[in-house]
């Protein structure tokens, strides 16, 4: 693809016969391992992911890139298909009639990358560690009587009271699924990151070639035995058709696009919507939506400090905000965003848009102004945190600030890098003393699709998610949801939760948007799923 004039490299070398260069070259020959060459042989897929992989422990963090990494090298007991239905993956499962005993039986042929067979003890240790970290897992362990390996293949999970959503939580696709690790690794305290990266998944982690934040290489695990069923989302057979998958990071979106167009890479997980015309112009590139659910973007207020400790003022703020402007600014092309007032995400079983009329109608500044007056807003500044270094989060605060100002709020928009923001949002101090009033973030829709896993839907005060609403009614509704044993009841409770969340302005859903992936046209058969996975995918010649 690239044109290099004849003799070019030779003449440059001849000129630079300097000791320094020679030394640098010689030294690099000796020390640098494989480097990050984007080799173009047919057996390797080079993919640019949405962010660099740095944290290798998929249990300790909720970061998507680490979860994706987890799906590469680890396997899960049970997994969901595109209809949110749970299927066996590593294990068949059985539920006792009283709903108190769950039995998982590992299938044959499971093997860790170090050649050891996967045992029930490994699974128990992994589930225990996951249970300490994952909020859904914590709910299960709250009612767990015992979790033990009955024999090498059988895991018995006994509950003290029925917990209907157990399988949904264990089989969830995001944010932290219970990946199965060898017991010796899973014994690492859940507050410390693991240091050994051995799984039983379809790919092995090539540790020598790992460059944190830059590049990670996976090799096909030859001894992996896929299931017979066709792959669907995370369920079904994970048949690997390529030898190696290399994830690299390109901090500059245009660089990545250009690299894809010129064939230097095979796959781009997320492309800037505004730049799609460049990709679409290239005949060798296919642009598509992999995950039809996409992301929800939202705002969260701080219940602890004025002015948003007042429900009326929160309601005024919600009334001031309109989704269209936020999404149009963030995404641009309306094909790739949709207005959605459902806190559990549109397109999910529990979706309901109750109460979101003003949000979807572009906001009601007049109504907000009136409400604000009624609430006796005293012009207390609203500290709105804006991250400067995360492109998917820069637009929401800016647009929201303008909308709030139009409704009469006194907005103090404070710019900061994402790290400062995540630290500061954990601060319960008054906004003037380093606290905050409102911030924005995005979720993958499956991560918020149910009251069990949606982090915001939690009214436990200081133990709740940042913003710390103290809301007994919400907790009661959640208990009701857990207790519900059929889908209709669940949907009914979920709708009441939706109404309650909007009423109390627990958080402000600002709509949904899709991410667009792009691939060279010779990359085929990729699974449609929120998680980009590299089984089944093939590279045709």
């Amino acid at each position: 693809m690239t044109f290099i004039p004849n003799g070019f490299s030779g003449s440059l070398l001849a000129k630079s016969r300097s000791i320094a260069l020679a030394a640098a070259l010689a030294a690099s020959t000796a020390i640098v391992p494989a480097g990050t060459a984007l080799a173009q042989d047919g057996e390797t897929i080079t993919a640019v992911m949405h962010s660099g992989l740095r944290v290798l422990d998929p249990i300790i963090t909720t970061a998507h890139i680490t979860r994706n990494h987890g799906y590469m090298i680890y396997d899960v007991l049970i997994a969901m298909d595109e209809n949110f239905e749970v299927h066996p993956q590593m294990a068949e499962f059985e539920v006792s009639d009283d709903g108190l005993t769950y039995t998982f039986t590992l299938r044959d042929g499971l093997m860790f990358h170090d050649g050891e067979p996967v045992t029930a003890a490994d699974a128990v240790a992994s589930l225990n560690r996951w249970g300490e970290r994952d909020s859904g897992g914590q709910l299960i362990f709250d009612v767990t009587e015992s979790l033990e390996a009955s024999d090498d293949k059988t895991i018995t999970w006994t509950l003290s009271e029925p917990f209907a959503p157990l399988l949904d939580i264990v089989g969830k696709q995001s944010a932290v699924p219970p990946f199965i690790m060898p017991a010796r690794v899973a014994e690492t305290p859940s507050s410390e990151a693991i240091t050994e990266y051995v799984g039983s998944g379809p790919f092995t982690f090539v540790e020598e070639e790992f460059e944190p934040g830059v590049s990670v290489t996976y090799a096909k695990f030859e001894d992996y035995v896929p299931r017979e069923e066709p792959a669907n989302w995370m369920s079904g057979g994970k048949v690997v058709n390529v030898d190696r998958v290399v994830w690299t990071t390109m901090p500059d979106a245009q660089t990545a696009m250009n690299a894809l167009v010129s064939g230097e890479i095979d796959y781009l997980e997320q492309s800037q919507i505004d730049l799609l015309p460049i990709l679409e112009a290239s005949p060798d590139v296919v642009v598509e939506v992999r995950d039809p659910l996409g992301y929800q973007t939202m705002g969260r207020m701080n219940f602890k400090h004025p002015p948003f400790d007042d429900e009326k003022i929160r309601q005024a703020a919600l009334m001031a905000m309109g989704q269209e402007s936020v999404l149009a600014t963030l995404i641009g092309n309306p094909e790739y965003y949709s207005l959605c007032g459902a806190i559990f995400g549109c397109g999910t079983p529990l979706a309901s848009e109750t109460g979101s009329e003003t949000l979807k109608a572009g906001g009601d500044p007049e109504g907000a102004r009136a409400l604000l007056e009624e609430a006796g807003y005293d012009n207390t500044p609203v500290v709105l945190m804006q991250p400067t270094d995360v492109t998917t989060l820069t637009a929401q605060p800016v647009v929201a600030a303008q909308q709030l100002r139009e409704a009469g709020f006194n907005v103090d928009m404070q710019a900061m890098d994402w790290q400062t923001l995540v630290t500061r949002r954990a601060s319960q101090a008054a906004p003037a003393d380093g606290g905050w009033n409102i911030f924005f973030t995005n979720w993958m829709v499956p991560e918020i699709s149910s009251p069990l896993i949606n982090p915001m839907v939690n009214g436990r005060g200081d133990d709740a998610w940042f913003g710390w609403p103290e809301d007994a009614d919400l907790e009661a509704l959640r208990d009701e949801f857990i207790a519900a044993d059929d889908a209709e009841t669940q949907a009914e409770v979920a709708e009441r939760i939706q109404a309650h969340v909007i009423e109390t302005v627990n958080y402000v859903p600002l709509g949904q948007y899709l991410t667009v992936q792009a691939r060279r046209s010779n990359i085929v058969d990729m699974i449609q799923s929120p998680v980009p996975v590299f089984w089944q995918i093939d590279k045709s010649e």
């Binding site: 500059d252 979106a253 245009q254 696009m257 250009n258 800037q272 505004d274 730049l275 015309p277 460049i278 269209e324 402007s325 936020v326 999404l327 149009a328 600014t329 641009g332 804006q386 400067t388 270094d389 492109t391 820069t394 637009a395 800016v398 647009v399 600030a401 303008q402 928009m413 404070q414 710019a415 900061m416 890098d417 790290q419 400062t420």
Partner: protein, 294 residues
């Protein structure tokens, strides 16, 4: 009295009674640079009087539009008017440049004077300055912005800190060489106190090189601001600067190069002019080069 009495301007007093080379004449370049710079300063300073749109007001439906009668240079990714932003953005960029230049020159001058004259302080100060110099300035600046949050003043501060050691070294070297001047020794012999000598005899010697240095700092501060924005450590997007307009625009470089082109053009013209004027000032003020022209 053979010497011709020459008019003495106030500027001459400040800059050390410069004697212009006999045939010295402002070249075409510096004059053009001065005109460009004055135009840019006037145009940006008065921007609010004439820009057609509020540079902060967004219209999501007008994102990334091309030039039109309403939006002379088109709009940015937030649907804000690029022309208004570029003109208003100049204010902040220039403020950062001038602010960084003034602050670092003043602080550097004070530290440098002390360092140049008091040996004990010198040893300590220079070690600290060496350490500051050794830290790559852009990394230091990013860390400082992270520390203070990305406000205008924090950016000025972050740019200033790494510049200070260079100013200190300059002032110190001028002081060290000036204190060997016979007129300084004469002042010692005349019983003048050290602070007086420092301030009245030595300090004025530093002004000319500081003015030159200040212009360079100003230029480089405007550039550094752009780089900080590029790396995500710049002024918030609410306040337009040439740097953050470009930093936001860089994502759209291939589909809408104007977003980088216009602020980049203004910034480069501005820096080019400042640098050219700085060079002119240096050629005039630098005694070593002056010797050549005489």
């Amino acid at each position: 009295m053979a010497a011709h009495p020459q008019p003495t301007s106030a500027m001459q007093v400040v800059l050390g009674a410069i004697q212009l080379p006999r045939n010295w004449r402002l070249g075409f370049g510096p004059i053009l640079a001065a005109i460009v710079l004055v135009l840019i300063v006037i145009a940006t300073a008065s921007a609010y009087l004439y820009v057609p749109h509020n540079p902060m007001s967004m219209d999501a439906l007008q994102r990334l539009k091309g030039p039109s009668e309403t939006y002379w240079l088109g709009t940015d990714p937030y649907g804000r008017d690029l022309f208004s932003r570029v003109m208003v953005g100049g204010q902040v960029s220039l403020l950062i440049g001038i602010g960084a230049a003034i602050v670092s020159v003043i602080i550097g001058l004070l530290i440098g004077l002390v360092s140049g004259f008091f040996r004990l302080a010198d040893a300590i100060i220079m070690r600290i300055m060496d350490a500051l110099m050794a830290i790559p300035s852009i990394l230091l600046a990013i860390a400082l912005v992270a520390l203070n949050g990305p406000s205008i003043w924090s950016v000025i501060f972050a740019i200033t800190i790494p510049e200070i050691p260079r100013v200190v070294r300059l002032v110190r070297s001028v002081v060290l060489s000036a204190r060997e001047e016979p007129y300084v020794e004469a002042a010692i012999a005349l019983g003048s106190s050290m602070p007086k000598i420092l301030w009245k005899h030595l300090m004025p010697n530093t002004l000319a090189p500081l003015i030159v240095q200040g212009t360079y700092i100003c230029a480089s501060a405007i550039l550094t601001e752009a780089i900080l924005s590029f790396l995500g450590a710049g002024v918030s997007t609410e306040i337009p600067t040439w740097g953050n307009i470009m930093a936001e625009g860089r994502l759209f470089f291939q589909i809408k190069p104007e977003l980088i082109f216009w602020p980049g053009l203004m910034l480069s013209l501005c820096i080019l002019s400042i640098n050219l004027l700085g060079d002119t000032a240096r050629d005039l003020l630098d005694p070593r080069l002056k010797k050549r022209e005489a």
